[in-house]
C-alpha cells in the first residue's frame, strides 16, 4: 500500500449469499449423488444377487436333472432287483423242485444250473433207478436230456445228466410266462 493508511478488505466473489447458495447446492448435490451412489450400489447388489440366484437356479436345475437320472437309474435298479428277486425266487423254487425231484436212492454230488439247461453229477445204485426215478421227470421238463454213466469202485454208477431246454421252446415259454 503506497497511499492508503489501511489495507483493503480481501475481495472475493463468494459473498455470504453466494456462499449460502453454494452450501445449499453442494448439500443438495451431495445428497443426490449419495442417493445415486446408494441406488447404484443397490442395483449392483441386486444384479449380483440375481446372478447368484440364476447360477443357483442353473445348478439346481442341473442337480434336479442329475437326481432325475439317479431316480431313473434307481428305478431301473429296483426293477432289475425285483426281476432278480423274482428270478431268484423262481430259481429257488426250481432248485427246491429239483431236489424234490431227486429220489432218496440217488445222491447228487454237483449240480450246474445253466441258462437253458441243467447238468447234474451224482451217484446212482444202477441205471434203472436213474432212468425211472430221475430221468423220467427230467425228460418231462427238458426237451433234450443226455446221460452218461461210469462205474465206481463199489459197483455204483457215477452219472452226468445234461439237460437242455430248446431255445424256441424256452423263448415260447418265456413269452407264455410274460403273458
Amino acid at each position: 500500500m503506497k497511499y492508503s493508511y489501511i489495507e483493503p478488505r480481501k475481495k472475493s466473489p463468494f459473498t455470504q449469499e453466494v456462499q449460502l447458495m453454494i452450501a445449499f447446492f453442494s448439500i443438495t448435490i451431495i445428497m443426490l449423488f449419495s442417493t445415486y451412489l446408494f441406488l447404484l450400489y443397490k442395483d449392483y447388489n441386486f444384479q449380483k444377487d440375481q446372478r447368484s440366484i440364476l447360477t443357483k437356479q442353473v445348478e439346481l436345475k442341473k442337480n434336479i436333472a442329475d437326481m432325475k437320472k439317479q431316480i431313473a437309474f434307481i428305478n431301473k435298479q429296483e426293477a432289475l432287483g425285483e426281476k432278480i428277486y423274482t428270478q431268484n425266487s423262481v430259481l429257488k423254487d426250481s432248485i427246491a423242485n429239483l431236489f424234490d425231484l431227486v429220489p432218496a436212492r440217488i445222491t447228487l454230488s454237483k449240480a450246474k444250473l445253466l441258462k437253458n439247461g441243467l447238468i447234474l453229477y451224482g451217484i446212482t445204485p444202477n441205471k434203472d433207478v436213474y432212468n425211472f426215478m430221475l430221468q423220467a421227470p427230467l425228460r418231462s421238463i427238458f426237451q433234450e436230456t443226455y446221460s452218461s454213466f461210469y462205474p465206481t469202485k463199489n459197483g455204483w454208477l457215477r452219472f452226468v445228466s445234461t439237460n437242455y431246454v430248446k431255445d424256441d421252446f424256452a423263448q415260447g415259454e418265456t413269452n407264455s410266462n410274460e403273458n
Binding site: K2, Y3, S4, Y5, I6, P8, F14
Partner: protein, 336 residues
Amino acid sequence: MFDKIFEAMYAKVFINIIVKRFTTLVYIEIDSKKGVQSSLEKEFESVEFNDTMYEFIQEYIKESPYFYVTVLDTSTQQGAIPTCNKNRIDYYALVENIEYKCQNKTWAFYTTHDAIVSIKKKYATVGVDYIFSPYAILSDFFKDKIDSHLALYILVQENYLSIAIYENSQLLYAHHLDMMVQNDFDTIEMDENLDELPLDDDAVELDNITLPDEEEIEDFADIEDLDAIDDIDEFSENKDVEEELLESTDTLKDADDTKFNEDYQRFTLIQAAVAEFYKDERYESRFVENVYVADSVGVTNDFKKYLEEEMFFNVYVRRADLALEVCELAKKELGL
C-alpha cells in the same frame, strides 16, 4: 490464480466518499477491463453517513463483489512531515499516536490512529478499503511539478487547506488547515495585536504621527537606486509559462460576498503558513516564488490576485475534481 480469474470476470466498483462542509459527495465509478463503464455522483445533505447514503451505495455494491470504498481523511490533526525517520517524526508532528505513510523515503503524511478508527466506525455498514490523506491527492495531482519545481502547493477544499512546499519532490514544509477552526496562526496574531493595538479610537493621536523628511521621500523616488527592472526580469524567469498557458483557458470566477470572505480567509491562512515556514527553525527555508493551487471548490479571481499582489507569488490554479482524484488514487493503489 482463481482470484485473478474471478477478478477479471467482474467489474470493479469504486465508491469514493468526500465529506464537505455541509454535504457528502458520493462518486461511484464502475470500471471494466475496457475502461470506465459508467460513473455517477450524488450529493447528500448530511455530513454523517445515513441510511439514504447506505441504500444508494448498496445498490452499486451489489453489482460486483470487487467494490472498493474510499474515504478522504478530513481529520484536523493530520499533515505531512519532511522525514521518514521514526525518531524524527515527533520533532515535526506534534500529535501522539499517529499513523504515517512514507513517500519516496524522504517525506510522509500522517493522521491520528483515532481518526482512522473513527472513519472505520462511521462507515462500518459499508466498510472502508482505502483512507487517503489530502497530501497523497496533492502530491499525485501535481506530480509533474513536484518532481522538478520548488513551489508552494495547495489543495483547496471547502473546509480545509492542505499546504505543502516541495523542492524536487522533497517536502520542506506542510500544514493542514481547517478553516472552521480557529488556528494557531490566528491565535498568535490576535494575541500580539491585542497587546499592541490601541482599542480606543481616541487613543490614536494624529499629531504624533511624524512625516518623513522630504529628502527621504526623494530617495524613495530615485528609480536608479531601486534597480527594479532587473528584479522584475528575475521573477519573470521563474515563471511557469507552460502552466500559465494551460491556465489561460480556464478563467476564474468573480467573487460574490461569501466567496470573497472565504477566499480572503484562505489567503490569510496561506500567508500565515508561509510566514511559519520562513520563521520556524524546524523547516529548511527556501525562497518560494511559485504557487500551484489544486482548486476543488472554485476559488475566485480575488484569491489569486491576493496571492499575487500581496505575496508576490506566481500563482497557477488548476481545477481539481476531488472525487475523481480520489478515485484515480484508489485505482493506482489497486494497480490499475
